[in-house]
Symmetry: D2
Subunit: 408 residues, 4 copies
C-alpha cells in the first residue's frame, strides 16, 4: 500500500509536466477556438483533426511519452496501474492531452482488450496501428432502448451464422464514432439468452466500413459535441463479419468487459482529479485577481471555505483512487469491485462540485467557452453516468458491505 | 398574504395550459430539431426565427394570451405580480412559450422600464412595437472586464456631449443580441463617478444599427447558444445617440434598475419552478417506464426519496416566490429586497437539483438533446449567476437579517 | 390560501409575545437550572414540577392564553389550524412555554381525540381536567420490539373480554410518562389481525394506576431526559379496564390516529420553526458579540452565507407549514397527507441544520447547558423520528406524486 | 507513502482486537449501565471509576497493550504516528478502550508534552505515574470569556513572581477535571502580551490541590457528562506554583502546543473513524434484522445508497488521515498543517454523518442509551469544535492553498 510514486512514475511525471507546459498549455486556448471553427457542431460528417494534434502526437511519440497506460514493458511503459495513475492525473489537466500521449479513451480500453484477449491476427491488424496512433477505435455497449445501467438488458444480437458473426441492433454513446480516423468498433451484444447471466454476451470487432453499419448521428453531451472525439449513435443492421473478428469466444463478453473496466476507471478518475486540480487552480487565479466590493473574490463570504472543501474532496478522492489502483495491482479488478465503485462515485462527484463552484466564481465567463469549465463540467456529468451510473456503483459497494457484515 | 389564484389568474392559467397543450407541446420536440437545423451554432450572423414561432405568436395574440406580465390593464392584462406568478410558472414548462406569449426576458423588463420611465416619444417608438411583438430588444449591463456582481464596478461610460449622449465600453451576456428582430438595447453605464454611489449611472436607448455598435460574438451558456435568443458580446465604440434616447435623467440608472429587477426576478423564479415541474414530470415518466434489474427505475434505491425531496424543494420555493411577489405588490420591490434575494437563491438551486437528478435518471439520453434537460440545466446554472449571483443575494439577505437583529 | 394572520391570531400572538417576554424569558435560564437540581436524571421516580410552572400556568389561564390549540370556541379559542399555527411558533421559542399555555404534546393530541371521539363520560372524567391543566396524559403507540415506522407492525394487544378490555404489551417513547401529574394513557394496540389493514387496531384509555401497568424506566432522548416531561417505557401486563374506556369502537384506532396526527404535526412543525428562529437569534447575537481574529464571528468566513441559508430554510418551511395547515382546514387531514408529510420532513430538518450551525458558532458553550442549543437539537433530532420518521414521510409524498403522475 | 501496516502494527492490531473482543465488548453495555448508576450526572463531586476499568487496565498492561501511542521504544511501543494510527482506530470502536490501554486524551498529549519538554524532575513526578496509569491529568486551554478558536485571545495570566509562577484566570472544557484520579493540569496562559504573537504564552504544571484552584462544575457535552471522564470549568485564583513547574521556558507555550496537536489530532481522527465503523456495523446489523413494510430496513428506500456513502466517507477520511500521519512522520507537524487540518474537518464530519444516519435507522432506540449512538454523536459534535473548530481548520487549508498558488 505504498502510494509514493516510483522512480519511473516520477520521471515520466516530470517529463509529462514539462511537455504539457512547453507544447500543450501555450496552444490550448487557440486550439479549442480553431477546433470549433474547423468542426462546426452541425456538420459532424466532415469532422477533422486539427493539424497541431497530429504534430503534437508525433512529438510526444518521439519523446517516448506514448502508450504509458499499457502495463506491457515493450509495447507500453511497463507501469502498474498505481504507477500510471499519477500520470493520468497530469494528463487530466488538459482536455486534449490524453490523445496526444495516445492514452485516450476508448482506445486505451480497446487496446487492453486486444492485448489481453485478441488473437495474433487481431493484434496485428488492429492493435498495432492503435498503438502507433494511426487509427482510432470505438467501443459499443450502451443502447438507447433499454436501461443500460443493467448491462444484462442489452438487446443487440451477436450470433454465429456459418463462418460469419452477425450483429444486429442499435448502440449509442459510442465514443469516437465521428472521428475521421475511427476504423473499427468493438461491439458487445447478446449471444445466448439462455446461458448463465454472465455468459450470455460476446464481443466482436466490426470495421466501421462494413455494410450495414450506419453512423446515424453524433450526440452532444451536456451541450458539448466534443468534436472530433464525441459520442454517437450507430445502427448495426444484420452486419456480417468473419468469425475471426470474434474476441475470445462466444459468451466471453462479460469476462472481457470486467478486465477492461478496472484500470479504465482508474484512468477516468485520475483524469477527473487532474481536471479538478485545473479547475481549483482557475478558482484561485480568478479569485485572487477579480475585485468586487473592494476585495479579491477569494476574500468574500465563504469562498476560502470552499477552497478548503475542494482541496479536501480532491485529496480524499485521489488517495482512494490510489488505493483502488493498488488493490487492482495486488488482487485484480474482480476482487477490487467495491473499491473501483467507490472511486467511480467519489471522483466524478468531486469534479462536478469543484467545477460547479468554479463556474459560480467566474460568473458569466464560466458559462462560456472562454474558459474550459463547462467542458470540464460535461466530463464530470458524463462520468457520473458512463461506465455505470452512480446508483449502480453505490449498489455494488453496498453489496460488498452486506457480504462483509454476513461473514462477521 | 392570500396566495389563492384570483379568478383572472385561474382563467388565464387554464387558457395558457390549453393553448400550450394544443399548440406548443405537440410541436416542441420538432421545433427544437428544426431550430437547430435552421440555426447552426457556428453561424449566428444568419440566425433566423423558425416560422412556427411567428405563427404561434399570432395565434397567442389573437387568443388574448399576450403581454400578461404587464400590470397595466390596457396594454397588458392588469395583473398584479402575484396574479401573474402562476402564469409565468405555466410558461416555464416550455422553453419557447414565454416568447410566444410576448412574456420573454429581457423584453418584459425593457417594456416595464419604458412603461414606467420612458418619454412619450420613447414609448411610441420602442414600447409600442415591443408590445406588439414586432421587434425585440436587448439589455446591456454585465461587462467582461470587471466583476459585475458588484454593479458599481461598471466601466462603460455614458456621458453627455452637447445634444448627444456618448456610450463607450463593452458589454456581454446581453440576451437577445443575435436575434434578427433585435432593434435596440437599453444600455446602463457610468456617468459620474463622483456622485453618490447609486446616482452615478444612467440608462440610454441605443438602436443596434447606430454606428460604433459592433456585435462581436454570441456566447454559449453551458454549451447552449439558445439560437436565436442567446447572449452576446457587444462593443460600444464612442457611440452617439440623441439626448432624447436617455431614459429618465442622467444618474437615474440604479433607480430604474431596481424597479426592473423586482418583478423580473419573480418571473425568472416562477419560470424556473415551471421548468422544475417539467423535469420532475420527466423523472416520473422515465422512472415508471424504464426497467432495470427487473423493476421500474422509480422503485430502485433512493429514487422515490428523491421524488419527495424534489417535490418539497419545488413547493417550498414556489410558496416563497408567491410571498415575495405578494410583498412586492404590497410595499414595493425596494422593501422586499431580502425576499426577492431569497427566491433568487432558492428557485434556481431547486431547479438545478431537480434537473441534475433527472439527468442522472435518464442516463445518456439525459445528456443529449433528445430531452430538454441540459437546456433546463443551462437555464438553472445561468440563473444562479444572472441578475446577481447567489453570493450577492445571500449577502443581501444577511444584511437585512443583521438590521433586524440590531433593531431588536 | 390566505396566510395573513387573522385579527384573532394577531391579538393572541401579541399577547403571547408580551406574556413570554414578561413572565417566561426572564426566568427561563434559572428555571432550567432549578429544574435540573430538582430532577436529577437518575431519579425519575421522584420527578416533580417546579413551582414556578404552576404559577405561570395559573397566570396564563387567567390571561386567557389557554387551550388556544383547540378549535372549539367554548373549550378552546375557536381558532382554525392555520390561525393557531403562528401561535405555536411563538410558543416554540421557549421549551417550557407550550405547557404553560396548556398547549403541549401529547396532551393536545389526547384532548383532540377525546373531544372528537370521546364519550360524554370520558370527556367528563378525562377531558375536563386536561383542559383545566390539572392532570396530564400519555399517548402509547411506539413499541420497542418492532419497527414502529410501520404502524401495522404494532404487537400490543387490545382485546375484549366480557365487560373488560384487556391490554397486553410493551410501549416506549411514551411522552410524559414520568410526570407526577400524569394520570392516564391513551393506548393503541392490535385487536383483530384478520380485519382489513386499517381496521385492526383500537384505542383505549388506561389509568396509570391500573394494576398491571408498570412504568419501567424513563429514556434520555439525545442525552436529555427532559424531566419531568420526557419519554418512558411501560409494560402493560394483562391490564384490564372497563369497556367504557374504549374510545369509539374496536377497530377504530387508525381512524382516530389519523385525525390526531394532522393538526399535531402542524403544531410540532411550527414549534420547531419557533425554535429555529430562537437559534438563529442566538446565532446573530453571539456572532455579533464574540471577536476572533479581530472581527465579530459573523464577519468571518461563510457565516453570513449561513445566516442567509438559515433564513431561507426557515421561511420556506414556515410557508409550507401554513400551506399544509390551510389545506387541513379546507379539506381535512386525510386529503392533505402529502403536504403534512412534506412539512414533517422540511421543518425538523431545517431546525436541525440551524441548531447545528448555531452550536458550531458557539463552540464549547453551544455543547453545554448554558444555552438551550443541545436541548433544541434533541427536539429536532427526535422530531425526525417521532410521528413517523423522515423515510416514511418521504414515501408518502412519493406515493401521492406517483398517483398524480398516473392520473395525468 | 506506504500505508500498509507494519509487522508491529499488524500484531498489535490483532492483539488489540482479540483483547477487545474477549474483555471489553462483552462487558461494555453493562459497564455503561453500571457507570451511569455509579455516577449520577448531578453528583460529579463523587464521581468514581468503575472497578472493572481498573481490572481491565491491569490486564491490558500485563498484556503489553499499554502506552502504544508513545513513539519512545522503551516507555511506549516505539511506533511511528502512522504505525499507531490503525491501533487508535481499533480503540475507537469502544468508548472505554482508550483509557484501558492508557491511550486516552488528554493524558496522551500531556505525556507527550512532558516527554518532549519536561524537566527530569517533572518527568519523574508526573510522567512516570501517568505512564503507569496511576494518575490522570488535565489540559487547560479553552476559556469561557473569549473566542478560543483564536488562541491568541487567551486571557488567563501566567506570570513569574520571584520564585513562583502565578496563574490567574478561568478555563473550561478541561477534559478529565472531575476524574477522581486527576492530579494535575497543564495550563496554558498569557505571559507577555507585548512579545511576538506566538511567543506570548506559557505552559505550567498545576497540581489540582494547589490553593486557589477551584473546580466549579462539570459540563455536559451534547447532553453527555461522560462521567468520570468529561469536561469541566475551573477557576485559577492567583494560584502559585514553584518555577520548577514551568514547562520549558516562559513564552514557549505555542511551540509546545504545536508539537502536542499534530499526533493528537491523528489519534482523535482515527478513533473517530473507528467509531464510525462501529456505527456502520450497527447500521448493517439493525438494517438486516428489523422488518418494516415486509422488508429488512436495509432494503427500503435509499438505505443501501447510504451504506455506500458511509463506506466512501470513512475510507476516504481514513486514507487522508494515514497520509497526514505519514507526513508528520516525514517532515514534522509544522510542515503538515494543511493535512492535519484537512483530516480534522473530514473525519469528525464523516463520523457525524454516519452516526446521524444510524440514529435515524434505529429510530427511538437510537436516541436512547440502549445503543451508544448519542454518545458517539457527542464525540463527533465535540470534535468539530475541540482542538480548533472546522472554520479555523478550513482557514488553515485555504491559507496553505493560497501560498501554493502564489508560488506558482
Amino acid at each position: 500500500m505504498d502510494f509514493s510514486p516510483s522512480a519511473k512514475t516520477l520521471q515520466y511525471r516530470q517529463r509529462l509536466i514539462d511537455f504539457m507546459r512547453e507544447h500543450i498549455e501555450p496552444i490550448e486556448a487557440n486550439y479549442h477556438k480553431e477546433n470549433r471553427r474547423l468542426n462546426p457542431d452541425g456538420q459532424w460528417r466532415e469532422w477533422q483533426v486539427a493539424p497541431m494534434i497530429h504534430e503534437l502526437k508525433q512529438r510526444a511519440k518521439a519523446a517516448g511519452l506514448w502508450n504509458l497506460f499499457l502495463p506491457d514493458a515493450e509495447l507500453g511503459a511497463g507501469l502498474t496501474t498505481l504507477e500510471y495513475a499519477p500520470l493520468a492525473e497530469v494528463m487530466g489537466h488538459s482536455l486534449i492531452a490524453p490523445e496526444i500521449f495516445n492514452c485516450n479513451a476508448p482506445d486505451t480500453g480497446n487496446m487492453e482488450v486486444l492485448y489481453h484477449f485478441g488473437s495474433a491476427a487481431q493484434k496485428q491488424q488492429w492493435l498495432t496501428p492503435l498503438l502507433a496512433g494511426e487509427i482510432r477505435s470505438v467501443f459499443c455497449m450502451t443502447e438507447p432502448d433499454v436501461a443500460s445501467s443493467d448491462a444484462t438488458n442489452m438487446q443487440t444480437q451477436i450470433t454465429a451464422d456459418g463462418d460469419d458473426i452477425v450483429i444486429h441492433g442499435r448502440k449509442w454513446w459510442s465514443t469516437g464514432l465521428g472521428h475521421p480516423q475511427a476504423k473499427f468498433a468493438i461491439v458487445m451484444g447478446l449471444t445466448n439468452p439462455e446461458a448463465p447471466k454472465h455468459q450470455r454476451h460476446s464481443m466482436v470487432i466490426v470495421p466501421l466500413d462494413t455494410p450495414g453499419v450506419t453512423v446515424e448521428r453524433m450526440l452532444p453531451a451536456f451541450g458539448e459535441y466534443d468534436a472530433p472525439y464525441g459520442h454517437g449513435e450507430v445502427l448495426f443492421d444484420q452486419v456480417r463479419v468473419p468469425k475471426a473478428n470474434l474476441i475470445s469466444n462466444l459468451g466471453d463478453g462479460f469476462k472481457i468487459a470486467q478486465g477492461r473496466l478496472g484500470p479504465g476507471r482508474i484512468h477516468h478518475c485520475m483524469r477527473a482529479l487532474g481536471a479538478a486540480e485545473k479547475a481549483l487552480q482557475l478558482f484561485m487565479q480568478r479569485g485572487a485577481e477579480r475585485i468586487a466590493f473592494g476585495k479579491p473574490l477569494l476574500q468574500l463570504g465563504g469562498n476560502l471555505e470552499r477552497v478548503a472543501d475542494m482541496r479536501i474532496a480532491i485529496d480524499q478522492a485521489r488517495l482512494l483512487t490510489f488505493y483502488a489502483a493498488w488493490k487492482i495491482d495486488q488482487v485484480g479488478a474482480m476482487k477490487a469491485l467495491a473499491e473501483i465503485s467507490a472511486i467511480k462515485v467519489a471522483a466524478p462527484n468531486a469534479l462536478q462540485m469543484v467545477v460547479d463552484e468554479t463556474i459560480q466564481l467566474f460568473g458569466g465567463a464560466g458559462m462560456s467557452h472562454d474558459v474550459p469549465l463547462t467542458a470540464l463540467f460535461a466530463v464530470a456529468r458524463a462520468l457520473r453516468i458512463a461506465d455505470g451510473p452512480d446508483a449502480v456503483h453505490r449498489a455494488t459497494i453496498a453489496k460488498v458491505e452486506l457480504a462483509k457484515y454476513r461473514e462477521r
